[in-house]
Point group: C2
Chain length 197, copies 2
DNA sequence: TTTCCAAATGAACACCCGTTCAGTAACGCT
DNA sequence: AGCGTTACTGAACGGGTGTTCATTTGGAAA
């Protein structure tokens, strides 16, 4: 037996990445074997190597493409000029982008230590780029007097930790809509950095 | 060869847990082998089973004892009555407890998915207990008019995510002292839930 | 000094790991 | 219809996995 009916590279490739993402998010990178991924795709383990160089590259590409999509998506947004509005917009954007991507978020935040040193540095660079976008908002708001924070870098991390934490508990089937989550966090984020009135 | 000079159960036991904690925090539970842990302790893999039932129990006990210590430590604190002061106190306590325990925090937040269903439920119960302590503060503050949040449970999670995120970037050898971190976060946490003035 | 036992060893168990590769079947193209 | 390419199989590679257990040792108690 060799190639099955109607199977093509353009179909199997993405299926490999999808299965890997779901399994890694669920069990962790080290706990998932190539044979498990292959079984999920309906293929033998050896066939995976038509689509990936090795297991490490697979993980890196999953994380890289997540960060690329994130940066591209934010880059495509048209940003309000006013710092407070821009912060509100960032909060909404972050939630809207991340909530439907639970598996990507899980993998991207939990599997950093399984990246090789080189790959880690590249992912970290992309993450830094995204953080810089938020930090620029905070700096503008500080300059305009709208915000008051002691350290813009720390505030950036605090806000992102707060927002990204949502993926750990939010249940799309639960009683709270995504819009409500956005409104609630918009308020809390804004208050956390706003200058006292 | 069997027992080495001067080695005793009361010494080896904790050394096993210490080595396991450090290695698991660094590489992840699934990526660390019993032989690696044993090598770190200076012992053969079989000897570990004098101190642990199996690998799963080892992980569970590491996480359980972290949560037990956390709850005991918070229980031993004397809490201010005023909600705002109690929230400030919580922020300081959380940072002081968690910052010197990087490995425990890493393991406790990243390896939940490697727990068996039973063990997961028990750890989750303990975590919930801790979250309830914060939620009680927020509820009191809402009742007194000091805080204004839409959903006390969500605010609880937001605050804890914000605070626990510190362990991901804080460098004890860096320029920022732990006291400064406490002050900065005390302010941000308070603002994030405070009623507008 | 002898006895006894806790605390280790080291080999073995059955199995799983990532990765490679010769062989083969199904497809698109001529 | 025949050919070449693509996509896959299945076996094999060397090595690692968690766990068990008979055996051996060091040290304390008698």
């Amino acid at each position: 037996m060799a190639r099955k009916q109607g199977s093509h590279s353009e179909i199997t490739g993405p299926r490999v990445r999808d299965a890997a993402l779901r399994l890694i998010a669920q069990h962790g990178f080290a706990a998932v074997s190539m044979r498990q991924i292959a079984a999920e795709v309906g293929v033998q383990a050896g066939a995976l190597y038509n689509y990936i160089a090795d297991k490490q590259s697979l993980l890196f590409e999953l994380m890289k493409s997540h960060m690329d999509e994130l940066l591209a998506a934010y880059g495509a947004e048209s940003l309000p000029h006013d710092p407070t509005e821009r912060l509100d917009h960032f909060t909404r954007f972050h939630i809207r982008f991340h909530l439907p991507r639970r598996d990507q978020v899980f993998v991207s935040y939990m599997e950093l230590r399984n990246l090789s040193a080189d790959n880690f540095a590249r992912i970290e660079g992309l993450r830094r780029q995204y953080e810089n976008a938020l930090e620029a908002i905070l700096r503008d708001g500080i300059a305009s007097g709208a915000f008051r924070v002691t350290d813009s870098r720390i505030a950036t991390r605090a806000v992102i930790a707060m927002l990204t934490g949502i993926t750990n508990w939010y249940d799309p089937a639960g009683p709270i809509t995504q819009d409500q989550v956005e409104d609630i966090y918009k308020e809390m984020v804004r208050n956390s950095v706003a200058a006292a009135i």
